[in-house]
């Protein structure tokens, strides 16, 4: 819906100032709000209509004025009207809502990725550069940020009202959401899915920083090890490289370049290798056996934490050539393992 931008801003500012309305701090927010106001309008119209009918008739046909009722059977025309008009309105709402849904859940290709782990009762964010945060999340404004989220125990839900985005954080599987913050500031972060005793304590803050400030922040809070570097260590210490060493004699397939590729499985189907697939093939390897290999890989279910899995996944994502795999024999000091600055963190 197109309200004049001036009017829109006025309305939003005014509502916000009277604390009846959350700030619009992401690019999505105006879209959500537009649908919201449209629906509010429909509701008000519907309510006024129904109210007018009820009160109008009540006054016009009250016993004192109309002592004898006139029996009416019904009217096909009228009834068709109030079947079709609401139906049409609801269908518009459906289409609009569906478009919005895909806008919110379909990240742009160039978004930067941050991992989020939910557990009773805290949020842990892991930036690709290795910065860890608890119950807070620093993001730059002006560029799309995708969150890849997973829960270690029960359902949680990651909600940023000022951005109008929210997504369930599910145990056992990655879920994603993205946003593009517009205004620097500090915003609420809530866990909105009931998750046990301290559910209401599972809150935090979203700090949206200008790109420059964000740059500064990443520099200051780096732990020195990127996720991929952590993953590299794990890869060695868990013994993965015993099989995945990229040599001809290796019992497992080479993982170089596997991310983003299409694999053929032994049952003939094709899969796209994404984060979820990588995670799953570490935990349930026999679920999808790569063609040409025996199902000998052991399961790591219960042996690697979700953090560790994220590290491994990030590491595997960075393996683009056999050369890197060879390198894993020596725990590398390489700073090539993963980009530390956001500008390089572009998803392939």
């Amino acid at each position: 819906m197109h309200i004049s931008p001036v009017l829109w801003q006025f309305l939003v500012k005014w509502l916000h100032a009277s604390a009846l309305f959350p700030a619009e701090a992401s690019t999505i927010a105006p879209y959500t709000d537009a649908l919201y106001f449209f629906l509010l309008l429909i509701t008000v119209i519907g309510l006024v209509l129904v109210g007018a009918l009820i009160f109008g008739f009540s006054i016009r046909y009250r016993r004192q004025r109309n002592p004898v009722a006139t029996q009416v059977e019904g009217s096909t025309l009228l009834e068709a009207t109030w079947t079709i008009i609401p139906l049409a309105i609801f269908l518009v709402v459906f289409v609009w809502g569906a478009v919005l849904y895909f806008r919110i859940y379909n990240p742009p290709a160039n978004s930067m990725n941050i991992y989020v782990i939910g557990k009773q009762w805290m949020w842990k964010a892991e930036h690709p550069g290795g910065q860890h945060e608890i119950n807070s999340l620093h993001v730059p404004t002006g560029r799309p940020v995708q969150l890849t989220m997973i829960s270690q125990d029960v359902f949680h839900s990651f909600s940023i009202p000022e951005f109008r985005v929210k997504r369930e954080v599910v145990p056992g599987r990655y879920s994603t959401v993205w946003f593009n913050a517009t205004t620097p500031g500090t915003y609420h972060l809530f866990c909105t899915q009931y998750c046990g005793t301290q559910h209401s304590g599972m809150i935090g803050e979203i700090v949206a920083l200008t790109p420059e400030d964000y740059e500064k922040w990443t520099q200051q809070s780096t732990s020195g090890m990127s996720l991929a570097q952590n993953g590299e260590r794990l890869f060695a210490s868990m013994g993965c490289n015993a099989c995945h060493n990229g040599t001809a004699a290796a019992r497992g397939p080479s993982l170089a370049g596997v991310y983003g590729s299409h694999l053929t499985l032994s049952n003939g189907s094709q899969v796209l290798v994404n984060e979820a697939y990588l995670r799953d093939s570490i935990l349930n390897p026999s679920q999808h056996v790569t063609a040409g290999f025996a199902p000998i890989m052991p399961t790591y279910q219960g042996q690697i934490s979700e953090d560790g899995l994220i590290d491994l996944v990030e590491y595997i994502k960075t393996l683009n050539s056999n050369y890197r795999v060879q390198q894993t024999y020596v725990t590398s000091q390489s700073n090539q393992a993963a980009p530390t600055t956001p500008s390089e963190m572009v998803k392939p």
Partner: protein, 561 residues
């Protein structure tokens, strides 16, 4: 006592001369006496009264929890109770209100009492199963109280896995079995209604002569019979998972937690229509009676009940939009949600047009019915907000939902229940409730209700999550309003308890048909005889045929007692 009902007066109440009137000598209440005669009764009317007493009891327990919740939320800090206590409070509030109050509210009390009479039968088809249903309900209630006394449950009423199966060590199994047992109570009620409506109608009572109340209860019964067992099996699986922990719902063992959600909502979405449909039936009766007019578009209203019941089975995943159902399913379920909203809209407009050209009076039931229409419209349309995929992302799991469902459940069904209780009180007890006090309480509840739940819509859009024990201080003002409203609302709900109790002894004698309504139930004495009809009625008139009633009233000399 005047025979013609068309006196120009403020009220159509046709009370017999109070100086000479007495209650009928023989009626279902005094047919037998003693505790056992109630506990072992097969009479649908007595079972209805048993149900009425028990659901009222549970309503006030649930209401007490609501009061405590609102009190805690008065301040942003977690100060009144501990977190897990708070969680137990809203869980018990939800469980009690839904399974022990709202689901049985209209069907098991008014429906039980009236359906056989409305279709001209002497009782429900299976009186013993009807009684069994009440006992199951009581066992369920007792188990719930046991779970409460033993220390409570904190799953929320939705029992979300894997939280409920692996992460809570409260009395989940006790609560689950309580719901399991109470579920069978509602299955048996529904089964009884369906058989009765199909098989026991009086001669001449065709389907399209049945009062709309019967239609809507029929539709709700279908949902009870087909939906509830799925909830039962879901709860059985939760209990098994909790005790032996196999992993049907546990992702670390290869199970899918969403499977539980599918099974749970397969029941619980139809359940919301179990909760609203019988209330809609009440509204049809009340609106028609007090505007003295046949319901506008009888067939459309009747079929829309059935349509709601049918479509109600196809939309459950709208409770799981962001929980990980596929995008394809989200789309399908969102579309179907839009479709299921239409029959409700049809009903609203048909009721509004029933008033047109009527001769309207404003007794208490009518006030409640007006409240229903307004509040249900708000509640229903905000349901459409939630059904709209993109908006649900922002609104789900916030107070917006809490407001939505209180508008439909409290503003809708509870108001309809109160409308029905007032409307049929004279029939059930033989005595009138006091009119002006009850009007006052209707108005108080209406104001209190809006004050309580309107701010929650705003809170929801601001992002305040539901099931929060403590919240950021910026939300306080609206929460204070809400708590204030709840206090008013509490008064509004406490008043009927008092004056209805009072009226049992001191209320005016009602006579057979104080409202001059057309239903068969109004053509027999109040309170009715155990066997309802001395002579099985032969139905020749349509439902809501006020001309027929007028003729009939003119002919007969009304006697009471």
């Amino acid at each position: 006592m005047s025979t013609a009902p068309i006196a120009i007066s403020n009220t159509i109440v046709q009370l017999p001369d109070q100086t000479t009137a007495t209650l009928p000598k023989r009626n279902y209440i005094n047919a037998e006496s003693g505790m056992l005669s109630w506990l072992l009764t097969g009479d649908h009317k007595r079972i209805a009264m048993l149900y009425l007493a028990s659901i009222t009891f549970f309503f006030f327990i649930g209401g007490a929890f609501a009061g405590a919740i609102r009190l805690e939320l008065l301040t942003p800090q977690p100060d009144l109770v501990a977190s897990d206590t708070y969680n137990k409070m809203f869980s018990m509030h939800g469980i009690i209100m839904i399974f022990l109050f709202l689901v049985p509210s209209v069907p098991a009390t008014l429906g039980n009492f009236l359906i056989p009479i409305m279709i001209g039968a002497k009782d429900l088809a299976f009186p013993k199963i009807n009684l069994l249903s009440w006992y199951l309900y009581m066992i369920g209630g007792t188990l719930t109280l046991a779970a409460l006394v033993l220390g409570g449950v904190d799953t929320g009423w939705t029992f979300t896995t894997p939280l409920s199966t692996h992460y809570l060590n409260t009395h989940v199994i006790t609560a689950a079995s309580a719901i399991f047992v109470a579920g069978f109570a509602s299955i048996f009620t529904g089964l009884n209604f369906i058989v009765t409506i199909h098989r026991m109608r009086a001669p001449g009572m065709t389907w399209f002569r049945m009062p709309l109340f019967v239609w809507s209860n029929y539709a709700a019964s279908i949902l009870m019979v087909l939906g509830t067992p799925v909830l039962a099996i879901a709860l059985v699986l939760v209990a098994l998972e909790r005790t032996i922990g196999i992993g049907v719902f546990d992702p670390t063992k290869g199970g899918d937690p969403l499977l539980f959600q599918h099974l749970f909502w397969f029941y619980s979405h139809p359940a919301v229509y179990i909760m609203i449909l019988p209330g809609m039936g009440v509204i049809s009766e009340v609106i028609s009676t007090f505007s003295r007019k046949r319901v506008f578009g009888y067939t459309a209203v009747a079929f829309s009940s059935v349509a709601i019941a049918l479509f109600g089975f196809f939309v459950w995943a709208h409770h799981m939009f962001i929980m990980g159902v596929s995008n394809f399913s989200a789309l399908v379920f969102s579309l179907l949600t839009m479709l299921v909203a239409v029959p409700s809209a049809i009903k609203i407009f048909n009721w509004a047009f029933t008033l047109q050209k009527g001769s309207i009076t404003f007794e208490t039931p009518m006030l409640y019915a007006f409240a229903f229409i307004g509040l249900f419209t708000i509640g229903g349309l905000t349901g459409v907000f939630l059904g709209s995929l993109g908006l649900d992302i922002h609104l789900t799991e916030t107070y917006f939902i809490v407001a939505h469902f209180h508008y439909v459940m409290v503003g809708g069904m509870l108001m309809a229940f109160l409308a029905g209780i007032h409307f049929w009180w004279p029939k059930m007890t033989g005595r009138m409730y006091p009119e002006s006090v009850s009007k006052l309480s209707a108005i108080i509840s209406f104001i209190g209700f809006n004050l309580t739940f309107m701010p929650q819509f705003i809170l929801g859009y601001l992002g305040m999550p539901r099931r929060y024990h403590a919240y950021p201080a910026d939300f306080q003002v609206l929460n204070v309003l809400s708590t204030a409203g709840a206090t008013v609302l509490g008064v509004g709900f406490l008043m009927p308890l008092l004056y209805l109790g009072w009226s049992l002894k001191y209320g005016a004698i009602a006579g057979n048909n104080p409202w001059q309504a057309t239903g068969l139930e109004w053509q027999i004495q109040s309170p009715p005889l155990t066997e309802n009809f001395l002579v099985t009625p032969i139905v020749t008139q349509e439902a809501y045929d006020y001309e027929w009633l007028e003729k009939k009233t003119k002919q007969e000399v009304t006697t009471v007692g």
